[in-house]
């Protein structure tokens, strides 16, 4: 894990620029820093030392000096790859996984990506062919941003590095803002910053003199719905899943430093912790967040699991005041507006891990995407069921079963639930059918956009763009797989793995590892029949079956409680943070030019008077506040980027 920045092209004062770029992302790699400067190319690296502690310094060159790499992340199968390369005559000078990539590239060229099992982003300077090779892992765990200035190309692990480049300034991209206020995240390669882009997950980019080419080297794929599945025996499938998950966890325990584990109290992190507990020499340390509010707190389940596993458990309390206190820092690290406060507790959690002296944690992230755990999958199933008989007065009662943890919904009539979830009118052949209520509900937050911003957007429709990005095979997939693809391909890298994952962990120099996102496990799960994943309205059925002996029944059978945190309530009331009033004030909102000041004032007033606001109001409040903080952090009041960024 680490961070890097660099350039390709004739850059004046390259050393000084690389030093600034690296310093801007020093939080990602506080252990060491290194530079590499060649004619027309440069790499800077901030290192978090995890593998090859004494000999893994970067940027790293091969023996000939022709290849040099700056690398962020981990190659989990580097041990096996190194042995294979040794048998082919490669000689290694270090014990690091970084050197394995160099030898693999020497052996296979850019095709080496196909055999890497890991979470990574890297920039590899091939001096012989005078090209910079950039690549990013399959699921989008590690970030990689880039921009151009004339014929010069710049890249970095965070946008902060790119903002050090002379001539690159921070300006919000209106289309990205529309995407965030519809889809929760920009659609890559677009970012919140105008003219700054990110390499998409599972993509390779080659930069040569005068040309930049990008192509995918892997894609998430599902079988045609009519095709017979190779998995007909559920028990055999569960056994295969258990073996894959165990191996995915085993290779993610590889490190020259201790590996800990997050423990939320839910199914997924309990499974990864249980598997890891049997593999951690000297015992496993686990970490969790607790909340003041009973609605969000899962500490009883966390303690039960920690006791069952015998882990050394630590937790950090997160109240509404804590969320408000860290929220400006959260936006500085997400580098994009967000609609939920959920990253804030994770920011505090990674701080706890850092204080405990650990650098690496396993997390259960990805299981909901891979094994159909999200409520939206069940909701889509019920909506399809209701949509087949829109006149039924009985079928909509199923909606009551979907969200037992949302008190407001319990009071709704079946007719209203059916109306809200669009069961009657939604087009069953809409490619975004599964996500349409969420998209429509989120897009309602755009009510607060200013007249100028609306004019700039000129009828742009983020959902339409999302639909246009779907692969040709999408229409042939089972509806559950279509819904899973939308989550895994867009929201997972665009929000979960970035704003809640990489950025919140790396803010404190912590590397998260995700056994459920092992690509072999992902490919296996994609090939499972839908009914093995979502059985009736029981989510992650096959995963529960495969791991039920690992967990206490109370955890194994536990219905999903989505990870949530208090939203607008964190920012209002008598103890509200001073910056909130300033950021949401009419003058400041007017100066930003993105939102309607009067409407924002009314929203602030409403959320202050009635803390239990609904989804739209909460999302709008957090979205507006985070956008205002984004403007302050990255552009300053004068519209130029802040040095503090």
């Amino acid at each position: 894990m680490c961070g890097f920045g660099g350039y390709f092209g004739a850059v004046r004062d390259g050393r000084e620029l690389l030093e600034r770029m690296t310093a801007a992302i020093a939080h990602r790699g506080p252990d060491e820093q290194g530079l590499f400067i060649a004619k027309d190319a440069g790499l800077g690296h901030a290192r978090l030392s995890i593998v090859g502690l004494g000999d893994g310094q970067q940027p790293m060159s091969d023996a000939t000096g022709e290849l040099t790499i700056a690398f962020n992340g981990e190659i989990f199968n580097y041990v096996e790859l190194r042995e294979q390369l040794r048998t082919k005559g490669h000689r290694f000078r270090t014990s690091s996984d970084t050197e394995v990539i160099l030898h693999l590239y020497e052996e296979m060229g850019e095709d080496c990506l196909s055999v890497l099992n890991g979470d990574f982003a890297f920039a590899l300077w091939d001096s012989r062919r005078r090209r910079m090779v950039l690549a990013r892992d399959r699921m989008g765990v590690r970030p990689l941003f880039y921009t151009r200035q004339g014929d010069r190309f710049y890249f970095g692990s965070e946008v902060k590095a790119l903002l050090q480049v002379p001539g690159v300034s921070a300006e919000i991209d209106p289309l990205a803002l529309d995407q965030i206020f519809t889809l929760w995240a920009p659609i890559a390669p677009r970012t919140a910053f105008r003219d700054i882009f990110e390499l998409e997950p599972a993509h390779l980019m080659i930069v040569q003199q005068g040309s930049v080419s990008t192509r995918p080297y892997w894609s998430l794929d599902y079988p045609d719905r009519e095709a017979p599945s190779r998995h007909t025996d559920e028990r055999a499938a569960a056994e295969e899943l258990r073996a894959l998950l165990t191996e995915a966890t085993r290779i993610r325990m590889r490190a020259d430093v201790p590996v800990g584990s997050y423990l939320s109290g839910g199914l997924d992190s309990s499974i990864t912790s249980a598997l890891a507990a049997g593999m951690a020499p000297g015992g496993l340390r686990t970490f969790s967040v607790t909340f003041d509010s009973a609605e969000h707190d899962e500490s009883a389940f966390q303690m039960e699991m920690a006791r069952a596993l015998g882990t050394q458990h630590s937790s950090v309390a997160c109240g509404e005041g804590d969320i408000a206190a860290v929220f400006p820092d959260v936006i500085r690290f997400t580098e994009r507006p967000i609609l939920r406060t959920a990253p804030a507790p994770l920011f505090k959690l990674s701080g706890l891990v850092r204080e405990a002296g650990l650098k690496v944690v396993l997390t259960g992230e990805g299981a909901d995407e891979v094994f159909a755990g999200y409520d939206i999958f069940k909701e889509a199933r019920v909506r399809r069921f209701c949509g087949r008989q829109p006149g039924s007065r009985i079928r909509p009662h199923l909606f009551r079963k979907l969200y037992p943890y949302l008190p407001g919904l319990r009071q709704q009539s079946a007719e209203y639930l059916a109306s809200f979830f669009g069961a009657g009118g939604a087009a069953l052949d809409d490619p975004l059918f599964s996500h349409r209520p969420r998209l429509d509900g989120t897009a309602a937050t755009k009510l607060f956009f200013s007249g100028d911003l609306r004019a700039t957007l000129s009828g742009y429709d983020a959902a339409e763009e999302l639909a246009s990005r779907l692969p040709e095979a999408f229409s042939r997939w089972h509806p559950l797989h279509q819904a899973q693809y939308l989550e895994a391909r867009f929201l997972l890298p665009g929000y979960i793995l970035s704003s809640q994952g990489d950025r919140m962990a790396m803010a404190h120099g912590i590397e998260g590892r995700f056994p459920f996102l092992d690509h072999q496990l992902v490919e296996f799960a994609a090939g499972l029949p839908p009914e093995m994943k979502l059985k009736g309205l029981v989510e992650k059925h096959i995963l529960r079956e495969a791991t039920k002996d690992l967990l206490p029944p109370s955890i194994s059978r536990r219905a999903k409680q989505p990870y949530r945190a208090p939203d607008s309530h964190s920012f209002v009331g008598t103890g509200a943070a001073d910056y909130v009033q300033a950021a949401m004030g009419e003058a400041q909102v007017a100066a930003g030019g993105l939102f309607n000041p009067r409407a924002v004032a009314k929203l602030h007033e409403k959320c202050s008077a009635r803390p239990a606001s609904g989804f739209r109001d909460n999302a709008a409040f957090v979205g507006i506040l985070s956008t205002q903080l984004w403007l302050q952090t990255f552009t300053g009041t004068s519209g130029r980027r802040s040095e503090a960024a």
Binding site: Q411, Y416, S419, F420, D440, A444, L447, K606, G614
Partner: protein, 88 residues
């Protein structure tokens, strides 16, 4: 009476759900759900408003789109409740 109720309900909807945004053409028959004006929490806010403003009790069985999904329907619902005799 109905016009007064309708004006009052419209003012509440515009202020509370549209935050003063007058770009929305809110006709009397337009569905508040289909037009994204209210969400599931909004219904409860609307019910609270009706009970507080008009001193009537809205039963669970009354909370259905047929009563509350447009300005006209809400106004008619309130009018019928206000006109109904109070029972012990």
């Amino acid at each position: 009476m109905s016009d007064t109720i309708r004006d009052s309900v419209k003012a509440f909807v515009v202020e509370n759900f549209l935050f003063g945004d007058t770009n929305h053409e809110l006709s009397g028959t337009a569905s508040l759900i289909e037009n994204g004006v209210i969400d599931s929490t909004g219904v409860l806010e609307l019910v609270a408003f009706i009970e507080d403003r008009y001193g009537i009790t809205v039963a669970d069985a009354d909370i259905v789109p047929a009563n509350l999904d447009s300005l006209d329907r809400i106004s008619a619902f309130i009018a019928s409740k206000v006109a109904a005799p109070v029972t012990a």
